[in-house]
Symmetry: C2
């Protein structure tokens, strides 16, 4: 939708394993044509955009390789880059792949939740593999810039470490917090007449509305960067529990103050 | 500020252990007079509003008791009610106290962060002790209604259980998440030129900017309700860590799906 509006696109061919998804995309005018397979979708394309769960991208590259012309630029929008960018050198030896990650999204998914304004003014990380063709790298940058993004070339490992802290760990915290309220759900159901959810609860759990399959894949694909942070988060929660159980105000103050200091350093207000 | 604008107040006398706080309140026209002690502040008052850390409220009631007239209504704005409301029966046998908790606030504090619009349309919980005088209960309701709140009479134990889930546990999650990023702060400092904090990170850590001393007191005062939830949160984080470490997609999917289901049940969108 954003690409059409910006006049970047010719004919758009879409494929999705769910026929309802492509049917909705046709109805909304987001795509012009439905392909019967990923291979037919990319045949003859100047640009192929892969929007698929992170762990399915490598097999998808392998499957598409024989169908791709050497001058087709292949980009993705996955949240984890290091393993994929490495694998792309093997899967697409002709160098058509350029890893991309626009910093734009929402906790909703599907074409019905699509928003053509989502890219304006946002950063898009661009991670080409070693073997990427210069024309493909340029085409990837041009596409995102055309959508209104600011492109930032970044090392895939630095990208993944940054995302582990800025996005993946916050999602773990939000999912775990929401899941931790499961035993209180019947009680909370009965209180909605007197008290709507607080802003605190809404904000801290908002991203727990995101798709579990997408986030399962992201966390597993970025395990090397995110697992130490998840363990560290568990440690901090455990320390708070221990301080509350022991009525230890000093220990509790120390960890809450550390949290406040990090928040203030992360987000200058 | 909200009370003045609503024409609810006569002369306003303020006391704060920090002289800068009352000086700022005078400058901003929030109070008319600075008292030298809590006792002198409440002497002859029709309404005494105690805005102090949760754990200091019981000693404050004990200290104020001899200075209070029988027809002074004493209210507070603390986030935990059960222990305080119980203690108030002993500390104020004349029945002037009515526990209150307006569902309005922000992660900022101090008179410079004051906002006269904060109460409009919000719920204010009202928890009178068994011995509360009917006129004091009525005065408490009238005050909050005058500020634009909807008052909700609630059992103090139900209030504390509700707040443990809707506010106290989310604060624990936000403080723990922000604190868990401490080891990554030098790395994150160096990335701010390429990537501002994501909306995910901003939203999930927003309330970690709140005052550590205030939240230390709240968590300790509501330990009986919040500690089981903190332990449950730690358990969920640990389960996610274990699933990621074991590359166990099914287990990870199960817990993320549970989190998503709770979020969708908590906040209907």
């Amino acid at each position: 939708m954003a690409g059409r509006r910006a006049g970047l696109l010719g004919r758009v061919v879409g494929y999705d394993p769910e026929p309802q998804a492509t049917a909705a995309a046709i109805r909304q005018g987001v795509i012009d044509e439905v392909a019967v397979s990923p291979e037919t979708a990319v045949r003859g394309a100047s640009l192929a955009l892969l929007a698929a769960p992170v762990r399915s991208l490598r097999p998808l590259l392998a499957r598409l390789a024989p169908a791709l012309a050497p001058d087709t630029t292949v980009i993705d929008v996955g949240s984890v880059k290091q393993a994929l960018v490495g694998a792309a050198e093997t899967e697409l030896p002709a160098g058509q792949f350029v890893g991309c990650h626009p910093m734009a999204g929402a906790e909703f998914s599907g074409v019905v939740a699509a928003d053509a304004d989502i890219f304006a003014g946002r950063v898009c990380f661009v991670c080409p593999p070693q073997n990427a063709r210069a024309e493909c790298i340029a085409a990837a940058h041009a596409f995102w810039i055309g959508l209104g993004c600011q492109t930032v070339a970044i090392d895939p490992a630095v990208h993944d470490r940054l995302m582990a802290a800025q996005s993946h760990l916050p999602h773990v915290a939000a999912f775990a917090l929401a899941a931790a309220l499961a035993p209180e759900m019947p009680f909370l159901d009965n209180t909605t007449s007197v008290a709507s959810p607080t802003t605190s609860l809404r904000d801290t759990t908002r991203i727990a509305a995101s798709g579990p399959a997408v986030w399962r894949d992201i966390l597993l694909a970025n395990a090397s960067h995110v697992l130490p942070l998840i363990e560290y988060l568990g440690g901090r929660v455990h320390e708070i529990a221990r301080a509350v159980a022991a009525n230890d105000g000093e220990a509790l103050d120390r960890i809450l103050s550390a949290g406040q200091a990090c928040r203030q350093r992360l987000v200058k207000e």
